[in-house]
Symmetry: C2
Subunit: 386 residues, 2 copies
Amino acid sequence: MDPNQLFLIPSDEIDTRIAKITAEMKADGADSILIADNANKYYITGRVFAGWLTVSSSGKVHAWVRRPITLHGDNISFVRKPEEITFDGNVIGLEFATLTAADFLRISAIIQGKPTANASAIMRRARATKTPYEIQRIAESGQRHDAVYRSVPSLFRDGMTDIDLQIEIERELRKAGCLGQFHISGDSMELFMGNILVGDNADNPTPYDFAMGGAGAHPSLPVGANGSLIADGSSVMVDANGNFTGYMTDMTRTFARGTIADLAIRAHDCSIAICNRLASIGVPGVKASDLYEEAVAMASEAGLADFFMGHRQHAGFIGHGVGIEINEAPVIAPRSKDILQEGNVIALEPKFVIPGTGAVGIENTYVVRPNGMQCLTLSPQEILPL
Amino acid sequence: MDPNQLFLIPSDEIDTRIAKITAEMKADGADSILIADNANKYYITGRVFAGWLTVSSSGKVHAWVRRPITLHGDNISFVRKPEEITFDGNVIGLEFATLTAADFLRISAIIQGKPTANASAIMRRARATKTPYEIQRIAESGQRHDAVYRSVPSLFRDGMTDIDLQIEIERELRKAGCLGQFHISGDSMELFMGNILVGDNADNPTPYDFAMGGAGAHPSLPVGANGSLIADGSSVMVDANGNFTGYMTDMTRTFARGTIADLAIRAHDCSIAICNRLASIGVPGVKASDLYEEAVAMASEAGLADFFMGHRQHAGFIGHGVGIEINEAPVIAPRSKDILQEGNVIALEPKFVIPGTGAVGIENTYVVRPNGMQCLTLSPQEILPL
């Protein structure tokens, strides 16, 4: 494959993705979409570049490139500014969820008078069901993610803090080929290489929309490890970066130092039971909100509602789509309108925060198959000793 | 200091920052500004939270908080949506550079009919001159950054690739307290923990707007180390994350494996000479574009123009403001309209790419003082052997 042509994915894979996108465009009446977001560019071409992509409803893709200057091909024009872009058709889709207000006003002036559609929604729906090629990339991340998690007990040393352990996990991940970058759509959330929660730091609320919190090491990044000693009786929840292939897996495992409270062990077992139950009922056509309600019901029946998805502050979801980014569709939440489809890749993370012990539970990444959700993150699920 | 009150910086520091912001608001005729961007929230309060801030031209700050739920104080209202926000005055400043189109349209409906100002420009100017408190945070990052760079030769092992060395540098940085997160305004550029460039990988162009390139380890993140062996005769440029305090330093040092080409050594010396020259003439009132032209002139006089700021692809700037984010004002570029002011903190990075050897040169972070630019990144500047 010529590394300087636009597409870095196989041609049949390009065709599949473009067909998914143009189907969603037609559903929303968009004649063309303008793509500026890096994750969407990566989905369409398999690469990131500075500039824009246009996709027409006929399936024509054109790149309007600022950098790198080495790209070449019939479907590429080098431009300095968006005013040089031409659009097919009348209704133009724009990425309302990621385009800045400044760029939106500039583009609006360029397409003056033309009606717009929401290209963010179009791309979100197209990306929500993964192709076999994408599932393979995710499964590969899952395998490498698993291998690193299995090494966690060997990385622990007596007297370590959460940050000490996280640094060693980060190094193992990187040595195993983790790219490091944790892709989140939007700029309101950030996380560096994952969240390691020890003891009662798990009950410190975060401003971010993650399932779990933690005070973090600094007020500029208020989530995760905060320097807590890994003391006897603490749980150690490891939710670290699984981006090995440009496609991520999301996986959490819980470890324990010494003997932890029975309540915590019971909650952990409940988390595994919820994952297994949702995986068995999560077939195409099921409502995402029904999965959420089933999880809440199981936590409540076990008498664990006060600890489910946080204790002082509760998260409003128990799972989310994952792929190029960590916050894709569908969302497993009470008011979600998403319906499970074959090929959805979903992280389920029914977790608990037990005061005096810490966070417990697991998270797995699944692909929705005709008969249920297949797990792509295969590390042992029980609480392992450190 | 109560960790659950809004402000996590001293009250006189808050007053100084608010005075800078309100002066810029008055210059642009803004009665209120609405802040959603995390870096701007961190500047104003010393913390990150989910929600919005309003600042009125009288200096009143109010937080409209979604999370964390533990915040309290007179200047806080808990809200679920931006429609609950109230604004003082008529002209409302919005962050055009970071607000999404969707949020812009939503906010526009809320402030219906009211004229707007550009809060991004207001905040960018206010943040461009650092307070003594901020300079102290940056200097502290510089000291810790320096200590890690001095350890780089001890981290090298024969047979390492650029990625191998980068992983060990990352670990040293993290052990020294580096927060890891690399804050860049906007979502078009990303970099994981810095850029380690070995040999001819330095000549691979990147799509991002960084001074140097590199192919990167994966098409989803096309910048930096790509697995190149650190071979005899290669330069090794280390430009790694200096975020230890929520305020960053930007520093680059060059190492060499074995004997490198005389041309590369000459170019490295030219980089040091350019830094020294610009630091001596960089006093308040000087045009940023004049600093750029001086750097280009010195590279040209040395016969090194073809290699300056890249070889196959050239960067369009030689320096940039740095603070909470890596791309602050002023910009040291040919068409920059910025004028140096006392308290600007500027990274200068006059670098060269020498085919057959790699990237050479240095980068330092300086604070603009009345008599010139004071260096805050004090590692040895010469090429050190690996």
